[in-house]
């Protein structure tokens, strides 16, 4: 139970908040000051209809903005380090991860039973339960509920599911105003940009980027990029919209079958405002968010914010079990490809994901390329294994945006074998002919070589010799994506096989 406390620090950060001489870094607060320098914000991947997203191209532009790239990398690595600090404070951490994984796998293999149990209990509590097969049906259902109440404005808290459903675009098309109430999500909405991270949506933006967006949209002083000023201005601009809204919407982090309730975890209090100020509360939740009982909830709440932000818990963990007096509550359970994913032998465990973002914070590719470079709802390692289930062609290049170092798997609180699934997706996409020629040709050649030991050894020898002597333009050309921002490994003087033959060759038993 004894949490290690960070060493007391001097009050040397004028922007920091101190308590008992300790600099606070709960919520998504950085453990040390990170000051960016002004620079034009690099934008994300270019959407080209159904054609494959060129993640590497967008990543290259992100890295070409060194001040953004540096801030982004440091900020996310700091979250990773805060996560480690929390992990070391919990002796049973690995046991909790194993429990979380086992609970999720059990629930997913009995998903139909638990969903029916939830539905019955929720209805008994007075919640209206709806089922949506896909994004379009979700949007129609929510529109229908709003229309029944004559609602023209909706305040909502952040939800990746509604991003998946392109919900705001749909609502705009039917004349309903949607107001995001999370600061980061609101910044992204006002900038007409998708969230770049599932937990910290505007993490790729610097304070001057935000100042520019707010100056144009909520009328802040364009020359003032003080973070406290920007956040306070957004709060003041949001409050009247919250008070005037006709309806509120949240997502759901967990759904508890035995109580017929759901849980929302936030830091800003915006989900509780969205749910508790208007009379009508709609919660859109993916069917995989369900867990059997309250005792299981404890495991996940202990893991979620520690994994996500390195904070012991989110500021608010809110449990909804029924409408309040005079209010109305709706839950929309959304499939949108999840039930189909359940049948994919190599990929079904990706449904265990609790959307903490730890895999993104630790991923060297994600940290250096920015979430918007993936051009998909889900970015980073978890995105690489979820996005192709939505569109194998459009997201065919994403599973290659990984070094397969396995760090994502190591930090995942529900023990998804993320890097193995990334590798499995590469194989799957090659099988489905969704891999670009250069990658495929290289992999095919490699596959043939690897299947013939003698040819492999000959090729390795030749390559080692060639790498040492070939001119740079032959080795580092457009077909070698690996060598684009990296040096090829130094050719070795003696291969392992040669060494083995020379030293142990005669001693085989």
């Amino acid at each position: 139970m004894n949490m290690p406390h960070p060493e007391p620090t001097q009050n040397d950060d004028p922007e920091g908040i101190y308590r008992d001489d300790r600099r606070l870094d709960h919520a998504e607060g950085a453990s040390r000051p990170l000051r960016s320098q002004p620079e034009k914000q690099p934008r994300g991947a270019k959407a080209r209809g159904n054609r494959p997203i060129d993640q590497a191209e967008a990543a290259a532009r992100f890295m070409a903005a060194p001040r953004h790239a540096k801030m982004h990398d440091e900020r996310l690595w700091d979250l990773r380090q805060k996560r480690d600090r929390e992990m070391h404070g919990i002796l049973e951490w690995e046991e909790l991860r194993a429990l979380a994984s086992a609970i999720k796998e059990h629930t997913l293999t009995h998903l139909d039973e638990y969903l029916e149990q939830f539905e019955a209990n929720a209805r008994a509590n007075g919640i209206h339960v709806h089922w949506a097969r896909d994004a379009a049906e979700h949007n129609r259902i929510v529109h229908g509920i709003l229309a029944d109440h004559g609602a023209k404005s909706l305040i909502k808290s952040k939800s990746m599911l509604t991003e998946e459903c392109r919900f705001r675009d749909y609502m705009a098309s039917v004349g309903i105003e949607v107001i995001e109430t999370d600061l980061g999500e609101r910044i992204q909405q006002l900038d007409h940009e998708d969230p770049s991270h599932i937990v910290v949506p505007a993490v790729h933006k610097t304070r001057t980027d935000v100042a520019e967006v707010f100056a144009k949209t909520i009328g802040t002083d364009p020359g003032n990029s003080d973070v406290h000023y920007l956040a306070e201005s957004e709060r003041e601009a949001n409050r009247p919209l919250i008070l005037a809204a006709d309806a509120g919407m949240t997502g759901g982090n967990f759904v508890v079958a035995e109580t017929g309730g759901f849980v929302v975890c936030t830091n800003e209090g915006n989900a509780d405002l969205s749910a508790n100020v208007p009379k009508l509360h709609i919660a859109s939740i993916g069917i995989e968010k369900i867990i059997p009982r309250l005792e299981h909830l404890a495991v996940f709440v202990r893991l979620l914010s520690r994994s996500a932000l390195g904070s012991p818990i989110t500021q608010y963990t809110s449990h909804f079990r029924g409408p309040r007096a005079g209010g109305e509550m709706h839950v929309v359970l959304v499939d949108n490809g999840r039930s189909e994913r359940l049948g994919m032998a190599e990929f079904w465990t990706s449904l265990k994901c609790i959307r903490c973002g730890a895999c993104m914070n630790t991923c060297p590719v994600y940290r250096r390329s920015g979430g918007l470079s993936y051009g998909a709802t889900y970015s980073g390692p978890i995105g690489l294994i979820i996005d192709p289930t939505f569109n194998a062609r459009k997201y065919s290049s994403l599973p290659f945006a990984s070094t397969l170092n396995g760090s994502c798997t190591n930090v995942c609180p529900v023990k998804i074998n993320i890097h193995e699934q990334i590798y499995a997706w590469r194989r799957e996409l090659v099988k489905q002919h969704e891999v670009p020629f250069a990658k495929k040709a290289a992999m095919k050649a490699a596959g043939e070589l690897l299947s013939r030991p003698a040819a492999y050894r000959a090729a390795v020898g030749a390559a080692e010799g060639a790498l040492a002597h070939l001119p740079r333009f032959v080795v580092y050309n457009a077909l070698n994506a690996w060598g684009k921002h990296r040096e090829n490994p130094h050719p070795v003087e003696q291969t392992f096989h040669d060494w083995y033959q020379a030293n142990r060759g005669g001693n085989d038993e």
Binding site: M1, I17, H26, E92, D272, N276, V277, I287, R321, G343
Partner: protein, 198 residues
């Protein structure tokens, strides 16, 4: 076929045919802190909350009275101290938009995370805990559990339609990791230890 039946049928078709038993969850309470109150106070401070030490003698609520002395609008849902906005007369949540201080009592607290649980019964109007600028929470020191495993055995999660753990004030660091108290909800959360009167 309804969407409900379509989804359930699709799930049944695709269910992985593997045996995954449901594990038992331990309470992880074999190393409790020496003092639940001290552990709670420490955790609360790390989450940005403020803990008021009640005075050794005299008016136990003196620190609260001091805090609200200059406030224009105070809304109290507790019997120990009264405000000037009657929560019982509130018809719509929006009527609480101008509250400076809300004073409520927590159902219980969690030492591990510094959280206080506020249920719909504690709040009377849920929005008061979010629309107010500042929140003061009375907590009976006897109502502290060691960790979240113990917390989720409490009846509130089976009875209340709404119950929320508050762990410090509303906060954000969405811009460059700079921590801000008072994101969209309360700017401060203060806990005063005070046994229940009855």
């Amino acid at each position: 076929m309804s969407s409900r039946d379509t989804i359930l049928a699709s799930i049944r078709t695709n269910l992985p045919r593997v045996d995954r038993p449901l594990p038992a969850v331990p309470l992880f309470d074999d190393r409790p802190p020496a003092s639940l109150l001290a552990a709670f106070k420490d955790s609360l401070h790390l989450m940005g909350g403020e803990f008021l030490d009640s005075p050794a003698s005299g008016d136990a609520l003196a620190p609260v009275r001091e805090k609200i002395a200059k406030a224009r609008v105070v809304c109290s849902t507790v019997t120990e101290i009264s405000g000037n906005r009657d929560i019982a007369a509130i018809r719509a949540a929006q009527e609480l938009a101008d509250v400076d201080y809300a004073i409520v009592r927590a159902s219980f607290a969690v030492a591990e995370t510094g959280s206080v649980l506020l249920s719909d019964a504690d709040l009377q109007v849920n929005a008061v805990a979010y629309l107010a600028q500042h929140l003061i929470v009375l907590l009976d020191p006897a109502d502290i559990v060691v960790n979240l495993h113990h917390a989720y055995r409490r009846a509130e999660f089976r009875n209340a339609h709404y119950a929320a753990f508050h762990s410090g004030p509303s906060a954000t660091a969405d811009i460059e990791g700079v921590l801000i108290h008072g994101a969209q909800g309360v700017r401060s959360l203060t806990v005063l230890p005070l046994p229940r009167s009855a």
